[in-house]
Amino acid sequence: MDYTIFAVAIFVVAVLVFGGVFLIRPRRPDSGKEPRAGDEGGSATGTAVAEPEEKEEPGGPSAAAGTATIEEPPVAPVEIEIPPPSAGRLVRLRARLARSQSVFGQGLLNLLASDRLDEDAWEGIEDILVTSDVGVTSASQIVDGLRTKVKVLGTRSPEEVRGLLREELLAQINPELDRAVRTEPHGTRPAVIMVVGVNGTGKTTSCGKLARVLVGDGRSVVLGAADTFRAAAADQLETWGSRVGAPVIRKDEGADPASVAFDAVTRASDEGADTVIIDTAGRLHTKTGLMDELGKVKRVVEKKSQVDEVLLVLDATTGQNGLRQARVFAEVVNITGIVLTKLDGTAKGGIIVQVQRELGVPVKLVGLGEGPDDLAPFEPETFVDAILGEG
């Protein structure tokens, strides 16, 4: 009978609270405004007051040992590498991409090459799209679109059908979207990039790789280790930073990530760096508290500087849950781009098709391996060509 009690208790609470949602919510916008404005004002001054103290600390280089912000330069013995520039990386990495996509492309072409395009063939095409995590709805739409076109044009030859399929896939990925990562500084103000995502998708690694790309393109970069939760995440970022000579702003484990992010941006503008990359802790989109924290990080950074890019790191192996992740992250921090990682495996990353369609957020970068330079700008044409096994 104990169990019943829980059920009843939760139910009663739910009734009252749910009622609360319907009753209180609609009014909240006007009623909540004033106290909230006050709140933010309070936190703003709080941050502003705390700030100067921390800024002074790096000023005294000898005091660096005991302070919260640790200076990077002392770790000089590591040779600073100069990574290659970013241009044309995807072409160089196409071979690797082909490894993951060949089965997909081959299977499709075999189906298309058959003499008759009957029901089974179409279903086969749909199945192949589904197996690449495109999602049932998207897959059937792509196939329907293709079917209509083939019918209208009366196309029969595999070559033409293949061309149509390429078009269809491209249309789904929408090459028109602006995929440039905005990393140029605005006058004296550095560009700010925030990297977010669920646990284990490769945020820290992507931050490190992105820093390398930028350094390779001749920029100066400051890294902010706002992942104060996971064990050794800041160390991991520091290792990446030291390889390219980018300073890493970090604090003790468990520190407020928003303050780390703020410090990183402050430091970058003081030093006149071009770009700040803020690595955040991985968080599942279902954890409301953690998502609120992420929202706070962004708000706090915005007090200092506009946030130019919020990149959501999605793992290519992610299935249909990727869409929900993207949706929630978009709501909380308004993501502006997607980094698709681990595309060098067997996973096809088809989930991006759905994500792009629903949220209109373009994939901007792809991660293609563990090597430090395996991050490339996303090029839809090359991507689709690689899927279809061309060139």
């Binding site: 009753l23 996971r230 192996t317 299935g319 249909q320 849950n321």
Partner: protein, 530 residues
């Protein structure tokens, strides 16, 4: 917008109610819905095909149960079949005859191997073992440091002779660790390896070398619940590359449905041994096939909730709560405040609601429920005098204003709370009359129904109040609830349905006492999507 499978199927069958037997057509249309549901849950396509074929086979031969409508009958089959595949043999860690027992972790990057190593260590230590964590991930920058920190948190020693970051030979580290464990009396060695891709032959070879060096008693394949269709390829690649004895599923605290569990089990036949459900080191448990089945089908997870509650609360607290609920006196705001604080200790309210059966399709609304709303309500109640809490009827206009000012809310919020509270109070009274928990033999159904009605009424009131133009929708909700209730009456006697499967069917598998009226209320709780 994902509907639950049970709802989808119910809609498929609305026109078919009353039919005596599942026709071929019924089976086919159901099969399509199940296929979609499974694909949405990331079960791999080939697995879905096999699975559907099996279901069809069984559905054709199935005796018609008079207690179940066709939809419930099919779901029952699907659920049983899922549990059969996922469960099969459940097994525990095989400990070696001569210690140390070696457990090796392998998997893709970012699935949570290092964290799992710590959790496993803590779990084993709790069972009176003396585990040793071995840092054989020398690939990823600072993975060794991470394991050290995790080990420190779990209070489990870590063997890390190499600094990592690409330096050192993991095979050598693994080999040395065995000697080290023997010398230092560790009876279990957990080897954390680097994440690797199935197609990376070099890294797979390294994993195989580590395996040969330590001859593990168990190799655990660590996979994250969010993985999509690629699960089959990866699982197969690792099976061919290193082989594994069991699977550990991580990140189950998200809302991914975890179809991969089914795919991997089906393709490789390896059982799923552990489930990891959170970022804390204690969030780790043996795998429960029945829960996973419900999860894949999006049917709520009442049992987890109950277990969680058992862990969180003291016996005395529960008794106290039970006595307040059962006592003759009216339910007061103080009781409510106390209940709310207890429920809060179970975790964010949205998570709790998510675990309730039939709530899947309310995900959006649940997502809107913020724990801050609870705080606000608590603030309102705390701004009342004890007299007001005992008897909210005395709260008049000026008292309302005072309460609103005191709690920093609006008078209308206070109004809303008080009105809702009266409804809840009425409901509690009805429940006590109709079938109070703990009074055996009482048909809970009637109480439940009344409650549901009260609920519907309440929601409606809420709408009118807020000027929300959703009245039409609301009426539909009532109709739907009515419909469902009628269906439930049919299914009420059935005793084989999985927990949380809409309807009165939720009861039988649940512990005694949770039967009867409670479950149907919860499923009536949902509003239909448009």
């Amino acid at each position: 917008m994902f509907e639950t499978l049970s709802d989808r199927l119910t809609s498929v069958f609305t026109s078919l109610r009353g039919k005596g037997r599942l026709s071929e057509e019924d089976i086919n249309s159901t099969a399509r819905e199940i296929r979609l549901a499974l694909l949405e849950a990331d079960v791999a396509l080939p697995v879905v095909r096999d699975f559907i074929a099996q279901i069809k086979e069984r559905a054709r031969g199935e005796e018609v149960s008079r207690a179940l409508n066709p939809a419930q009958q099919v779901i029952k089959i699907v659920n049983e079949e899922l549990i059969r595949i996922l469960g099969g043999e459940t097994r525990e860690i095989r400990f070696a005859k001569n210690p140390p027992t070696v457990i090796m972790l392998a998997g893709l990057q970012g699935t949570g191997k290092t964290t799992l190593a710590g959790k496993l260590g803590l779990w084993l230590a709790d069972e009176r073992n003396t585990p040793l964590l071995v840092a054989a991930d020398l690939q990823r920058p600072n993975a060794v440091t991470q394991l050290q920190v995790v080990g420190e948190r779990a209070n489990v020693p870590v063997f890390a002779p190499q600094p990592g970051n690409g330096v050192g030979d993991p095979v050598e580290v693994a080999r040395e660790s065995i000697d080290y464990a023997q010398r230092n009396n560790h009876n279990v060695v957990i080897v954390d390896t680097a994440g690797r891709l199935g197609v990376d032959s070099e890294m797979m070879q390294q994993a195989a070398d580590i395996r040969d060096a330590v001859r593990p008693d168990e190799i655990l394949f660590v996979v994250d619940a969010m993985i999509g269709q690629d699960a089959v390829n990866t699982a197969q690649a690792f099976l061919d590359g290193v082989g594994y004895d069991a699977v550990a599923l991580t990140k189950l605290d998200g809302d991914a449905r975890g179809g991969a569990a089914l795919s991997i089990r089906h393709i490789t036949g390896r059982p799923i041994m552990f489930a990891s459900t959170g970022e804390k080191l204690e969030d780790f448990d043996l795998f429960h096939p029945d829960r996973m089945a419900s999860r894949i089908l999006d049917m709520g997870d009442m049992l987890t909730l109950i277990e969680h509650a058992q862990k969180t609360f003291e016996e005395s607290e529960v008794e106290k709560m039970a006595s307040t609920l059962a006592s003759e006196e009216d339910f007061t705001l103080d009781d409510f405040l106390q209940q709310m604080s207890m429920v809060r200790r179970l975790g964010p309210i949205s998570n709790l609601l998510g675990m309730m059966p039939g709530m899947g399709q309310m995900k959006e609304q649940i997502g809107n429920v913020d724990d801050k709303d609870l705080d606000r309500i608590a603030a309102i109640i705390q701004s009342m005098t004890p007299a007001e809490r005992d008897n909210p009827k005395i709260i008049n206009g000026s008292r309302r204003l005072r309460i609103a000012n005191g709690s920093g809310t609006q008078v209308s919020d206070v109004n809303g709370l008080v009105t809702r509270f009266f409804e809840a109070q009425k409901m509690m009274r009805q429940m006590k009359n109709g079938g109070m928990p703990g009074m055996p033999g009482m048909p809970g159904q009637s109480g439940g129904k009344k409650k549901a009605k009260a609920q519907a009424k309440k929601a409606k009131k809420g709408k009118q109040r807020s000027g929300n133009p959703l009245k039409a929708k609301q009426q539909e909700a009532e109709k739907a609830a009515e419909r469902q209730r009628r269906q439930e009456e049919g299914g009420d006697q059935s005793s084989q349905l999985p927990p949380g499967l809409g309807g009165g069917a939720g009861a039988p598998q649940l512990p005694p006492g949770l039967g009867g009226g409670k479950m149907p209320d919860l499923s009536d709780f949902k509003l239909p999507k448009q």
